[in-house]
Symmetry: C2
Subunit: 384 residues, 2 copies
Amino acid sequence: MIVAGLMSGTSVDGVDISLVEITGKGHRLQTRLLGHKGYPYSPSLRQRILQAAEGGSVGEVCHLHALLGEVFASAIIKTARTCRVPLKKIALIGSHGQTVYHRPRPIKEAGVGMVRSTFQIGDPNIIAERTGVTTVSDFRSRDMAAGGEGAPLAPYGHAIVFNRRKVNRLVLNLGGIANVTVLPGNGEWSHIRAFDTGPCNMLLDGLMNIESQGRRRMDREGRQAAKGSVNEKLLGWLLAHPYLSQRPPKSTGREMFGSSYIHRVLKQGCRQKLSFVDILATSCRFIAQVIGDAQQWIPQPIQEVVAGGGGVRNKRLMAELEDRFAPVSLKTMEACGSHSTAFEAQAFAILAYQRIQGVCANLPSVTGARHPVILGTISPGKIK
Amino acid sequence: MIVAGLMSGTSVDGVDISLVEITGKGHRLQTRLLGHKGYPYSPSLRQRILQAAEGGSVGEVCHLHALLGEVFASAIIKTARTCRVPLKKIALIGSHGQTVYHRPRPIKEAGVGMVRSTFQIGDPNIIAERTGVTTVSDFRSRDMAAGGEGAPLAPYGHAIVFNRRKVNRLVLNLGGIANVTVLPGNGEWSHIRAFDTGPCNMLLDGLMNIESQGRRRMDREGRQAAKGSVNEKLLGWLLAHPYLSQRPPKSTGREMFGSSYIHRVLKQGCRQKLSFVDILATSCRFIAQVIGDAQQWIPQPIQEVVAGGGGVRNKRLMAELEDRFAPVSLKTMEACGSHSTAFEAQAFAILAYQRIQGVCANLPSVTGARHPVILGTISPGKIK
């Protein structure tokens, strides 16, 4: 079965699509990446999504829900054409959607109890209607309904793809937020742990964006960071954030490490009279240190680290991570037969496949849910 | 198959649940109402929903989405207990959700085209998780993705339940908004027409609510309206609203006839120095006249009118409607073996059943969609 996975991460930079061939049953799946494309949002669309996420009105959020449905559908149609996979051969779409709100910490409501909520936009009805392909979406809500954090979900994909017998592997995703997945070499899925360690590209990209007054989205290859030096005082301030010492399971996002946080980081840097490149370099060290420190919550000794996500292209960050994990080897997903920037989208292709198969694909040991649940809702494709 | 249908109308007064036994295939279904319960929202919850719908933030809308999921799930569990139908025997839930935004008129987006959007809250993942019953929701989006207005949808239920050979029937729903469905006696479903005529209980309830400073939700049995007289000047002003002369297909809601409209009505009444009961009486006449005038867009001569919705309990309104349609007989749904206030919820039980059967249940002649589509997304129940 050919499945298209769509991912739009917390960086709000666009949508990534992976075309994946999936075969197998239960938790034993074989996956093969057929193609991968990324489509950046236009700056104005990105701005509208960010504004909606940071307090937009119901009307604008609802309109963007439909608009992103159209954007995602076009992107799938383009990907199929570019990768020379006829749309008709795509049996299923798994669309994560763009998170505009995620609140795993419950709010108490009298007479009802604890209420957690999350919302990803990009209307699956529009995707299914335009492509004719059955579309699975809204992957996080069911896990939260079962008491989980609704995140992270990619670890299930990590377990399917990067699981290696007798080797305790740490899979590291360097996205807007960095997250780690521990795959124990004993193959016990209930021993899998995963959590968001803290900010990653969201911080680095946000700093570049402010410094360049919106002209640059990222520090390409970490070139700016490479020019700077680490400042211990700023590093200490960064490491004092309360999220970092919180025990997993835990997840975070733009609410905690969005633009207001990034402005506070810059302000701290200015207080220390640091140059911009020093702030960037310190941020890279900070991210790597937080990721390395995550081992304190992992019972197994890590024997291999597999890194993916856009952050693998940041050479300064990767160098910091190598230092941090040495002598344990740090590989990219490419070195393991996968693809660093395609993987998150691939994971949602896998989750969509499991929705259709009726297989539970949350990991309660990871999300904190009370039990395994089937993730996602189904919008039907073309009537046969 | 026993199906629970949930409806929360534009009046935002609570949730109605109908337990319906459904059998049959394709468009030939038999339905039997097993029970019906209504659960009013608490005044504070109602207030929060109204505020969210009239410009709430993404955070509050998202939180209410989850909170209403809990409220709906509890209501289903209570209904099953009260009606002595074990929850395990309920095979399916169809939940309309509470509309917080509905914009069928498209907004043009450069590079994308026309975008229409709608959003109903009440997380189906929570309903399915708490009840263990597979839940269908989000019925309107797919029709809108296919170019339709996403409304009205109940006419499909009308066609299933009230279709009568050789009699041109008008089914009239007196909800927050009034809508009519024409069921031609020739049985040609493509000749079915239906549209929202204009405001109904939303206006009457809104007037009572303002006048009583929030102490009264409605003019029970139309007793206040019965004390007043119709004022022709106010009636003329009311009838001049541009929506009323618009050709169908058309649909409307709180955006057009919500609190700001109701305040304008009161202001007009004050300008004519009318008593409150005169404003109410004039509003009843206005509603009836608009409904009667709807016949101008109906090619078939109407031979029977079947009325349902909360408005059938308003005696003044029903008397006005009888005058308007005479000599054509005006029956309530009860007189046709159904139930006036249970019907809308029953319609969503029917729509959920059709989602599972893979039967298209929009009526393109009614919504304006380009073609028939399967409505709703599916959240799975308990793992078997």
